[in-house]
Symmetry: C2
Subunit: 81 residues, 2 copies
């Protein structure tokens, strides 16, 4: 089982990395880009036989506590087999 | 339309950020983690009416050229409505 966590800056928070990518895309001639958000992607491999419910609970907690900064970031957790 | 690009280090490449997260999880008592990979997540908002095929081609090229480093990173591009 694998867990995928995507951490993105909250919409109201400045995203300088996103702005940089957006203007780079424009300068390189890629038109039609109206916004770019850059975040973190964390993939966690879990030992076989891990309990799904328990893993989800533990990872929600870990994501909130130290994989993201809840003041300025949102996260999305997804478990896949 | 939105594009999501996930950039991860190739399996053969050292991933110090992933190792750090893995040992942090272990130290904080989260058992059963067998590996962690940390990458980048880029979400691109596209103007309404953008041609899907053309956007996909342009973003494949942009991802390969400057959103990822193809020597040490893999990327996955996904277009969603």
């Amino acid at each position: 089982m694998k867990a995928r966590i995507i951490v993105t800056p909250k919409k109201a928070v400045l995203d300088p990395q996103g702005k940089t990518v957006q203007s780079a895309l424009e300068h390189m001639g890629y038109a039609g880009v109206t916004g770019v958000h850059v975040g973190k992607y964390i993939e966690i491999d879990l030992a076989p036989g891990t309990d799904r419910g328990a893993a989800e609970k533990a990872l929600q907690e870990a994501s909130h506590k130290f994989l993201s900064n809840p003041v300025i970031e949102d996260f999305k957790l997804e478990l896949v087999d």
